[in-house]
């Protein structure tokens, strides 16, 4: 198989990597994390000018029309800089869902605004007991005349604090466990009856818990058709696993490079500590874990992009592999750096924190492992 990058992928990777090197060093990133907003609006405008916000959006809506494989190279580079701007929530979750489930008018207006940087989106799908499986949600939208009455609670809505519009998964019919009966509503964060508690997550990103108490919504708030959103959301969440895993691959690559450099520099017992075989073994194991995870990422990305029969199974397998690889690589990087590996001043601990968050987002390793046991592979 030919794994060489296309011209577009290569040049995009160069462009993003140059941005991270020149304008997004660790101190800059930390100052953004500690700012009121939690990210930079100037950067957001730059991302729009550079066309990054249009990458996964179809050309008919003014985007670049890149597929999932193209987006993993963007995500990988963003991971290397621990970028805090809400690209993942806006593009990989929000815009992707609009593209898959929105009416043609919604696609035209909303996606155009996403590309131009005017509209940031967030997807509120997770609830306490339903972190990934949206058939288990208990948020409801009851139809009354031509209105919907929304009640419920969403937790850890990534990018929920900065989003201009939030896409809410709610049950409009059926019972818990049914795939049919899931709908998506587009709401403004300040909609009456909505209360938002925004906070900084462990990895420096922003999220929000949102409660809905008798929120009255027009039928125009509905994204696409009622009751039929399950397939689109499920597909978006599995594609998001691939995108998020690409970010983890970028982070693990940085941790390996930085740790190897440190082992070549740090002197102990008259030698650079990298000369000790026991530490070389650890570095080799970190490298192997990352390479295996990378192979799994490419496999899942190709399966998902080509919509193969076992594509979602591949995405779940990827999440499991990312779960074990990131934990191993992150812990080793911290240990090999010694105490300063967890200090706030050094970036190593921050990379580890982001990896830890990635593991809990979109279903943990254990959750997906359990799902894999339940779903047998389909022979093709």
């Amino acid at each position: 198989m030919d794994f060489s990058l296309s011209d577009l992928q290569q040049m995009m990777q160069d462009s993003v990597s140059k941005f991270i090197q020149k304008d997004y060093d660790f101190e800059t990133r930390q100052s953004l994390v500690n700012s009121d907003l939690g990210y930079s609006e100037d950067n957001w405008k730059l991302f729009s000018d550079l066309g990054w916000l249009g990458l996964p959006i179809n050309a008919e809506y003014g985007g670049i029309g890149g597929n999932l494989i193209d987006t993993i190279f963007l995500q990988e580079e963003l991971g290397k800089g621990l970028v805090v701007e809400p690209i993942f929530s806006t593009l990989m979750l929000g815009a992707n869902l609009v593209q898959k489930h929105g009416s043609s008018e919604q696609k035209t207006t909303m996606l155009e605004d996403v590309i131009s940087g005017k509209l940031k989106l967030a997807l509120a799908h997770a609830e306490g007991p339903a972190a990934f499986d949206i058939t288990q949600i208990s948020t409801t939208a009851r139809k009354e005349g031509d209105k919907y009455i929304l009640n419920g609670h969403k937790s850890v809505v990534i990018g929920g604090a900065s989003a201009d519009k939030i896409l809410i998964c709610a049950r409009t019919s059926g019972k818990v466990g049914d795939e049919n009966g899931i709908s998506i509503f587009i709401i403004n964060p300040d909609q009456q009856g909505t209360s938002t508690r925004a906070y900084t997550t462990n990895d420096g990103m922003r999220a929000a818990d949102i409660k809905f108490n008798q929120v009255i919504l027009d039928a125009t708030s509905l994204l696409g058709e009622a009751d039929t959103a399950f397939n689109a959301v499920d597909q978006v969440l599995h594609e998001a696993i691939v995108a998020l895993s690409a970010e983890a691959i970028g982070i693990m690559g940085v941790l390996i490079d930085k740790t190897a450099e440190y082992l070549r520099t740090r002197q102990q017992f008259g030698n650079a500590i990298g000369r000790f075989q026991v530490l070389q073994h650890r570095m080799a194991d970190m490298f192997m874990e990352t390479e295996q995870a990378k192979s799994m990422l490419y496999f899942a990305a190709i399966e998902m992009a080509e919509n193969k029969t076992n594509a979602k199974r591949a995405a779940k397998m990827l999440k499991v592999k990312i779960g074990s690889a990131t934990r191993f690589v992150g812990q080793q990087a911290v240990q090999l750096h010694g105490g300063m590996g967890v200090s706030d001043e050094l970036d190593i601990g921050h990379y580890f924190k982001r990896l830890t968050s990635i593991n809990t987002l979109l279903g943990s390793k254990d959750y997906h492992l359990n799902e894999l046991i339940k779903i047998p592979a389909i022979r093709q």
Binding site: M11, S15, I64
Partner: protein, 248 residues
């Protein structure tokens, strides 16, 4: 007005280069290659002049191996109009490159050639000056500002102890210094457009110039590792120490 910008493919400035075990050169196998940073500044300046209406066309040219076309595509993605790749697998020195550039400048009828002041691999800082001599036109080296008006170009040069402003009649040669501008990032739409922009390929031999190297590299070695310093208590001890090592 046509602007010609030569660009060189070099080892990326972030890569820590290592000397080959046999000392014959720098190991560039599996090493990330990029456009020479000073050339990137030159490309940016040419594009800005075009955007300001001072130029009609920006042509980028690279002399080297087939992979140099990636560097040319990057320049096209930044906003250059077309590219010329002059292929050769041989080691080309600044004089050979300057001779090829002189032929291209003549063929294309370019009014202004903007080069990076030097490449970060060989650090020669010769090509621009040699080109100016070969075509017999004025040169404004180490530019930190370039203004084109009618048939004149004004260049502010970074010289020892300050800035020097010179005015030259076109056609002219300008070499870009670090502070001339901040090069833009290539946007995705422009990267897509760059794929459709014309890139013509020629062989170095087609220009009928003598490319033979004038130098022979005898050896390449790593710089001497800096040794740990010592701390002195006061100026008297510092002076005594400097005297003892013969520094003063």
């Amino acid at each position: 007005m046509k602007i010609l910008v030569p660009v060189k493919r070099v080892v990326d400035f972030n890569v820590k280069v290592r000397v080959k075990a046999d000392g014959t050169g720098v190991d560039i196998d599996n090493v990330k290659m990029s456009m020479n940073p000073f050339d990137e500044i030159a490309v940016e300046e040419a594009i800005r002049l075009k955007e300001a209406g001072s130029a009609d066309e920006v042509i980028v040219v690279s002399v080297g191996v087939q992979q140099c076309q990636e560097t040319l595509r990057t320049a096209l993605a930044m906003g250059a109009d077309r590219a010329i790749l002059v292929k050769t697998d041989a080691l080309v020195e600044p004089l050979a490159v300057a001779k090829i550039l002189a032929k291209i400048a003549e063929e294309e009828g370019t009014n202004l050639v903007i080069l990076g002041k030097q490449s970060i691999d060989d650090d020669c800082n010769q090509t621009g000056q040699m080109l100016a001599a070969l075509i017999g036109r004025p040169q404004g080296t180490f530019a930190s500002e370039v203004v084109v008006e009618d048939d004149k170009v004004t260049v502010i040069r970074e010289v020892d102890g300050g800035l020097e402003t010179i005015s030259m009649s076109l056609p002219a040669i300008v070499t870009a210094d670090l502070r001339l501008n901040e090069p833009r990032y290539a946007s995705l739409p422009n990267i897509m457009k760059a794929k459709r922009k014309p890139l013509s390929e020629k062989m170095a031999e087609d220009y009928g110039v003598d490319l033979k190297p004038r130098h022979k590299i005898i050896a390449i070695s790593e710089p001497v590792t800096r040794e740990a310093g010592i701390k002195v208590a006061d100026v008297t001890e510092l002076v005594a120490k400097l005297k003892s090592v013969g520094a003063i």
